[in-house]
């Protein structure tokens, strides 16, 4: 690990710890959504970026994760036609089961995920969105129907991730409510998800996945079981989706079926394209960009041309954000093949090259990494 990587990790870690002490609740909420989106996008990037399999149905796995968690964790409620089912399991167990459930859902789709490739799979996964919407509106005892149902807060070793007015938690003069607590949970989950995906990508499986993407037949000839890998990556990426769904449910505190529609799935695809295909960092950058864009546009809507305040005639902030990220997808593919991550790497290389060049006469005897070969 190079020195700059360590430095960057330290800066990011420090920022993650400090942020909840300074930002207000609404920014924290958006930050949490960005974290959840980042987890989902990492999973999708494993599938689409690294293996070259398009999925337009990822919102379905988010829904499975979210509603799975709610169902496993909630106590059943009586109420005639509006009765809600539930298993009342301990919340951490419910979260783990929800992620596994998303994996099982992905596994059930694997006969198709293993055989189809690229954009074909993209169309086939469209089915998941429609089937998901159908299931969610019909399985009212699980999902609560159109209005959704409340999400029980996570409780880990007696520590509740929710507002506790009767016993407020104050750290360094900052009251720690649900969002501040969830922030740290989200950060840890994201870190774990990112490290795991990086391990997958850098190891043997990652090379196999990239070979499948670049040349399916070559991969097969070299002994990579192509179908099994495709199915496996699909399952893994749906589990990432499930985890993102659990986190989104915890932040929202209410799960609504309509949220998990086609638009959400398209937003995830936009994230990985904008951030950079095939890498963990790219997925995270793209997720932050796409999730924070509406927020930024709303915040500064009075200062920006063409965007109107909510409730007025014209382009609202949410629509402007959608149009912007749609355009960003097109622009990135046309002009920035590596996405934002590629842009950052290029800039760093350029700056890195310029500085040693200027300093070269002084240390001409010590080889730099560039001149060593």
């Amino acid at each position: 690990m190079s020195r700059s990587t360590i430095l960057w990790s330290a800066v990011l870690a420090a920022a993650a710890v400090v942020i909840p002490f300074y930002l207000d609740a609404s920014w924290l909420q958006d930050g949490l959504f960005a974290m959840a989106a980042a987890i989902g996008a990492i999973g999708l990037n494993l599938l689409t970026g690294a293996t070259g399999q398009l999925s337009m149905g990822h919102a379905f796995f988010l829904a499975v994760g979210a509603f799975g968690y709610v169902y496993f964790a909630s106590e059943p409620q009586e109420g005639g036609a509006h009765a809600l089912g539930g298993l009342g399991l301990p919340t951490p167990l419910a979260a783990v089961l929800a992620v596994l459930l998303a994996g099982v859902a992905g596994g059930l789709f694997s006969p198709i995920a293993a055989r189809l490739k690229g954009a074909y799979l993209g169309i086939a996964t469209l089915a998941l969105i429609f089937i998901g919407q159908f299931a969610m509106t019909n399985a009212t005892p699980v999902t609560g129907g159109h209005n959704g149902r409340p999400v029980p807060p996570m409780e880990l070793f007696g520590f509740v991730f929710a507002d506790t007015p009767e016993a407020p938690l104050v750290i360094a003069g900052v009251p720690f409510g649900a969002l501040e607590r969830l922030w740290f949970l989200g950060a840890i989950l994201l870190l774990g998800a990112g490290l795991f995906a990086r391990g997958v990508l850098r190891g043997r499986p990652g090379r196999a996945m990239n070979t499948i993407r670049d040349h399916e037949i070559a991969a097969g000839v070299m002994g990579v079981p192509v179908s099994r890998y495709r199915a496996g990556v699909f399952v893994l990426s749906s589990m990432y989706g499930g985890l993102a769904g659990v986190l989104i449910a915890l932040v929202f505190q209410q799960t609504v079926p309509d949220y998990f529609g086609l638009l959400l799935a398209l937003a995830y695809l936009a994230m990985i394209i904008i951030g950079g295909l095939g890498s963990v960092a790219g997925a995270v950058i793209g997720a932050v960009f796409v999730s924070m864009l509406p927020r930024l546009l709303t915040r500064y809507s009075d200062a920006l041309p063409l965007i109107v305040q909510p409730g007025q005639e014209g382009v609202g902030a949410a629509e402007a954000a959608q149009i912007l990220y749609g355009l960003a997808v097109v622009v990135v593919v046309l002009f920035l093949p590596g996405g934002l991550l590629g842009l950052i790497t290029q800039l760093r290389l350029r700056i890195g090259n310029r500085l040693p060049a200027a300093a070269a006469p002084k240390h001409s005897l010590t080889p730099t990494p560039e001149t060593r070969n």
């Binding site: 089915a127 429609f130 993407r213 097109v330």
Partner: protein
């Protein structure tokens, strides 16, 4: 029995409309190897132009304008985006079209808002009675027009220079280019034709018995995707068969919904996708798609 016949004719008519969309989708795929996810927005654009102009121009002129507008937009997407994108993988081109789709659909649904726009078609809500079977005139018009257009297209595809150039490009684009086929023109033509077909489909999707053009039309148009893929993405015959299968399935499942209520509400909307999954399980390349063979 009469209900069955009514549903069947309705299904075939809707299927013919899906076939129009799927055909455009397949043409684009054959000519440029791009899976065009922006197809639904091309459709929306066509329908929107007709809805906005039919009062001042009259229906037929508005329809022409809608066809031309959607065709121009298709050509523009090809010229401005697809041609410029310098990528290795065709999945990435598919994602670009998703970007285009997000932009177009967001803007158009914003323009439409919560309104339901009429398209001013001459068929109105008249119903044709044949024996005991009642069929809306608009559905007959859809069936006849779609069949005519499809037949015309297939003939052109087979016999005109344009069609031959297109098929040659689809077969082997480099050789075709060496033989003097202008690749750029062929792919732009494919996108324009697909746009016009989509606009025509938009018309028949938004007239009686559906209330009109509203923001849910893109969701309906999504059903043409399974139509294209279950027939086989590279087969025009497949697009027709797929369209009919999807149309009839949807119509029958929707019509007998009361008997199928134990399966849940809104089954008609999911049925096309379920059929697609079943067919893909048995034949991953679709019914008429060429199975991919590779030589190493």
């Amino acid at each position: 029995m009469t209900t069955f016949l009514e549903l069947l004719v309705n299904g075939i008519s809707i299927g013919a409309v899906y076939a129009l969309i799927a055909l455009g989708f397949v043409i684009i795929f054959k000519a440029t190897e791009v899976v065009n996810f922006a197809h639904a927005s091309l459709l929306l654009v066509g329908g929107f132009i007709v809805a906005k102009t039919h009062e001042s121009l009259g229906f037929w002129l508005a329809l022409l304008l809608g066809l031309a507008g959607a065709a121009a937009l298709g050509a523009l997407i090809e010229f401005a985006v697809i041609r410029r994108a310098n990528v290795v993988s065709h999945s990435i081109l598919a994602i670009v079209t998703i970007g285009v789709d997000i932009v177009l659909t967001t803007e158009l649904t914003r323009q439409i808002g919560t309104e339901v726009l009429a398209l001013g078609d001459p068929w109105g809500s008249e119903v044709l009675h044949i024996g005991a079977v009642n069929i809306p005139l608009a559905r007959i018009a859809a069936l006849v027009t779609a069949s005519l257009v499809i037949a015309l297209f297939l003939l052109a595809f087979k016999y005109t220079n344009w069609g031959i150039a297109m098929r040659a490009t689809a077969e082997d684009s480099e050789t075709a280019a060496l033989m003097g086929v202008r690749r750029g023109r062929v792919s732009m033509g494919a996108w324009a034709v697909a746009g016009a077909l989509a606009a025509l489909a938009a018309l028949f999707m938004c007239i009686f018995p559906t209330p009109g053009l509203d923001r849910t039309v893109t969701a309906t148009a999504m059903k043409a995707f399974p139509a294209a893929i279950l027939g086989g993405l590279d087969s025009t015959t497949g697009a027709l068969a797929g369209g009919l299968i999807i149309g009839v399935t949807e119509s029958l499942v929707g019509g007998y919904q009361s008997e199928l209520v134990f399966l849940g509400r809104g089954l008609g909307d999911v049925a096309p996708f379920l059929v697609m999954i079943i067919i893909l399980l048995i034949r991953p390349a679709g019914l008429f798609g060429t199975r991919e063979l590779a030589r190493v």
